[in-house]
């Protein structure tokens, strides 16, 4: 029995008078992976931000309780924002995070194909190059828990395989990966949460009826 890395209970997300999901509980052990699926607008990114602690859970429509997210150890996040200084050359933008976190492990830049881009300002990088730069930032953070919101966006086939390999290595070292991906991504043994399939779409008016 491996140690619990994530325990999230009774997560609810309300946008206006729409419930994107509610009563969602998750539990992951070290080395586990979770693939969040669902159509656009069903709260996948909101769930990731909630797991990252950046979006407070909404009070439960049934009990009024506010859900909890507990991680063992720090969390790293990739989303549509690269989290790097757009004005700085890539090398210096990454060096800033290296001063806060830790230096990148040897060979990371070469693996991600960034070694030749260090002098290029981040804003001139392509979508895929920015995504790879953000991956380097995540690796440098050395957090045991990775939240990846569309990590394959803009990546070519070789880079996609590289990301899958990085995820596998990270899990083998005891790390946890929670990912959203519209593109086919192979994460062996990942559990799946499908926000589109779960019967969680209730309007506030419907909830008022249920409560009455």
């Amino acid at each position: 029995m491996s140690a619990t890395a994530l325990s999230a209970t009774d997560l609810c997300c309300r946008r206006g008078d729409r419930w994107l999901f509610h009563g969602l509980s998750l539990s992951l052990a070290r080395g586990d992976a979770l693939h969040i699926r669902g159509p656009n607008g069903f709260g996948k990114s909101s769930l990731i931000r909630m797991l990252a602690g950046l979006l407070p859970p909404s009070p439960s429509p049934q009990t009024g309780h506010i859900g909890r997210v507990d991680w063992a150890g720090p969390v790293a996040l990739i989303d549509e924002r690269h989290g790097l200084d757009a004005a700085l050359p890539l090398g210096r933008a990454l060096a800033f995070w290296a001063r806060i976190d830790a230096p990148l492990p040897d060979g990371t830049l070469e693996r991600l194909g960034l070694a030749r881009l260090l002098d290029v300002p981040v804003r001139y990088l392509s979508t895929g190059q920015k995504k790879r730069a953000a991956l380097a930032r995540v690796i440098g953070q050395r957090a045991p828990n990775w939240l990846l919101d569309e990590p394959l966006n803009g990546l070519d086939t070789a880079a996609c395989a590289q990301v899958e390999a990085l995820i596998t290595e990270h899990r083998a070292a005891g790390g946890v990966v929670v990912a959203i991906s519209h593109q086919p991504i192979t994460i062996p043994g990942a559990s799946v949460v499908d926000l589109g399939r779960a019967p969680r779409q209730f309007s506030a008016a419907q909830w008022a009826e249920v409560a009455a």
Binding site: P74, H82, A87, I100, Q141
Partner: protein, 221 residues
């Protein structure tokens, strides 16, 4: 934690001082704007040396206030857009620290250059040495408050459509106390006005990190 805070301060300072490279400004443009206002003012009111010497100190204060509006849209929004605030939050660095550091960096990048540029501006108006000293001391006491209000307003308007224009509009009334005491010190001859401007600055400095942090968090939802 201290290491991270120092790294952030260094980065903020570099970016605000030198700008973003590709025409992103830095501190040079606001200071040139400040001098430009001081230079064109005599054209508008006429070259009467007595009049200019009397109103010069107030004009310098007004020009400083207007120049302080220019960097507002660069203070918070680019970093929010790039996701830097989210990344700092993930590392457990409180938003209050981030805002406090940003205020310090903004003041350090703006105020010394402004105090320096005040000397040629004062010369254009033919201000006496004693008046220049009151203006400089008043600005020294008032600019920390201006920096705090600037960062706070930038945090509140970050991510809003038309946020830059709204920031300028919000900035002006919030700076009124500093302007009244700072520029007022010229009329009443120094000491007490400067002390009150400094007091207003301190209150704003104490409140801004908490209010700005709350604005950043609210903006995430």
């Amino acid at each position: 934690m201290i290491r991270a805070l120092l790294a952030i301060l260094r980065r903020d300072l570099r970016l605000l001082l030198l700008g973003t490279g590709g025409g992103g400004g830095g501190v040079v443009l606001p200071i040139l704007f400040f001098l430009a206002v001081a230079i064109i003012f005599p054209f508008a009111v006429g070259p009467d040396p007595v009049l200019l010497a009397r109103i010069g100190g107030g004009v310098i204060w007004l020009a400083a206030l207007l120049a302080a509006i220019l960097p507002l849209d660069r203070l918070i929004e680019p970093d929010r857009e790039a996701g830097l605030f989210d990344q700092w939050a993930l590392r457990g660095i409180a938003e209050e620290w981030i805002i406090a550091l940003r205020i310090a960096a903004h003041w350090l990048s703006f105020a010394p250059a402004l105090l320096l540029a005040t000397l040629p501006a004062a010369a254009l108006f033919g201000l006496k040495g004693s008046v220049i000293a009151v203006v400089e001391l008043g600005l020294l006491a008032g600019t920390p408050g201006l920096a705090a209000v600037g960062v706070l307003v930038a945090a509140i308007t970050a991510g809003l459509k038309g946020g830059a224009a709204l920031a300028g509009l919000l900035f002006i009334p919030l700076c009124v106390p500093i302007l009244i005491f700072g520029a007022g010190s010229l009329a009443i001859g120094g000491g007490s006005g400067i002390a009150l401007a400094a007091a207003a600055s301190l209150v704003l400095l104490a409140l801004a990190p908490f209010a700005g942090a709350a604005a950043l968090r609210a903006g995430r939802g």
